[in-house]
Amino acid sequence: MTATAHKFFSPARIGAIASNTLLELVRLKVFYFLLIFALIMIGSSAFMVRFTFAEQFQVLKDVSLGAMSIFTWLLSVLATAMLLPKDIEDRTLYTILAKPVPRLEYLLGKLIGVLLLLLVSTLVMSAMFAIALYLRQQTVIAETMRTTPPEQVAEAIRNIKASTFTINLVPGVITIYLKAALFASLTLFISTYASSWIFTILISVAVYIIGHLQSTARDYWLASGDAGALTKIFLAIVSLIFPDLQLFNLIDDIVAGNAIAMAMFLKTCGLGVLYACIYLLVAYFVFANKEL
């Protein structure tokens, strides 16, 4: 007797694998890295007393968003790289795939589990960042009220508030999350054919470097004017395979207080989702034919 009729695509099965993956990562105590993030923010606050209030907010945003970007990326690569090799080594993969679970559902479940972990981490880090920013704002307001003539206080406080929480922070955090999601999908794809998790991590780091440098290298080669047909084809292939990660870097604009164009933001989001889907699809094709 079978429990239920087989479904070719079951969100419940994917949900079971995703929640189990999240539970695994939580019980591996990966959230401890948030403590390091908190320490970085507290540490950076210690150097701020020498700056003007505008500079203080800029430094805090720069350090916090930079740390968020590095931590979410690092977490996505490290957490994803070990999932598949560990399941193969422990033979857990055999027991799961010996149940009526299609390989696509297994991969999707694993990826969604990591994405949930990244979502929780990004939200917690954003909340910590917001609290740090708010506390800094209150300190600066108190200081301003003490040192500014009464008739200028209202104007000064308005200026402080305007340079603390800006709408730009939201797209900034979203692109940080999307970049990490893209890397989770890429790392999952690499781990479907890699023989060890060290290889997976090294390749992911290499893609990170290439992704950040490719636009600069491309601009340099094309601007020099001596790029031949072969170079152009090579550049086209590189920019097709590797995402241009500079597009996901909105931190400089946020720190400088520049407005982020909605069209640019949506294009970056679309690109992130597209690359994540492509990497997942390729991962499936490799994994579907993998001999376990």
């Binding site: 079978t2 055999y94 027991t95 795939l97 010996a98 149940k99 009526p100 001999e291 376990l292």
Partner: protein, 282 residues
Amino acid sequence: MAEHAISIRNLTKVFPIPFRRERVVAVRDLSLDVEPGQVYGLLGPNGSGKSTTMKIVLGLVPPTAGSTQIFGRDSSFVESREEVGFLPENPYFYKFLTGEETLRFFGKLCGLRGAKLRERTNELLALVRLENARDRRLGGYSKGMLQRIGLAQALIQNPRLLVLDEPTAGVDPAGSREIRDLILDFKKRGITVLLCSHLLGQVQEICDRIGILHQGVLVREGRLEELISIENQTELILENSTPELLRQIEADIAKSGARIVEMRKPQTTLERFFLEVTSDKK
């Protein structure tokens, strides 16, 4: 024609060796059937192709040639696994999960939910006698307990076929006996079992039929008693016999022209002796 639990036809599996032109033939032109309700022992030395055959039956590895079916369904299709429970050799499962969480996880993969899943989990924890360890993480389980939780997860969706790869490997004699008894219980319930084991004594105790693989080729296959019985010999075990009776039997045998091959006191098995001694001490 009756439906086979497992049907393997002209199965061949060749593994290419990376960066070389050589190839390894793991299984060569294998054909066999396992009937519903049977306990079938697949035997062979290391590297004989047993695990590869099991993996192909479970759809984990594609065959190079030939086909395998589970209850009439091609085992390359995911839905064929609805009817199968599998216990791999030396399973570890997720060490971060408790016994109960493990069964619930595998139950969800098989479409079980809510009260039905809860009932089935409790039932199986009781069957494999792990009720007291249900809230302990698998990282703290002994080898025997891991094998038993492995058997429970294999049974979670009430499958008609169980595939067990070395189910007693590394387990102490008492644990091994418990697992053997569980397999005999599955047989009584009509569950088909495909068993791979190196413990020939245990295979002899529980299997109805065996197949012996050697270098990927099925060298012997058939009903166990037919394969191992010595046709021209008879075993006679007497209780409370007197020396006179034994002398008379020997004389009659000599007169008939038959020959006594061996006369000795029957012995208990070392396993039975060990279990008796250790159970007394408890």
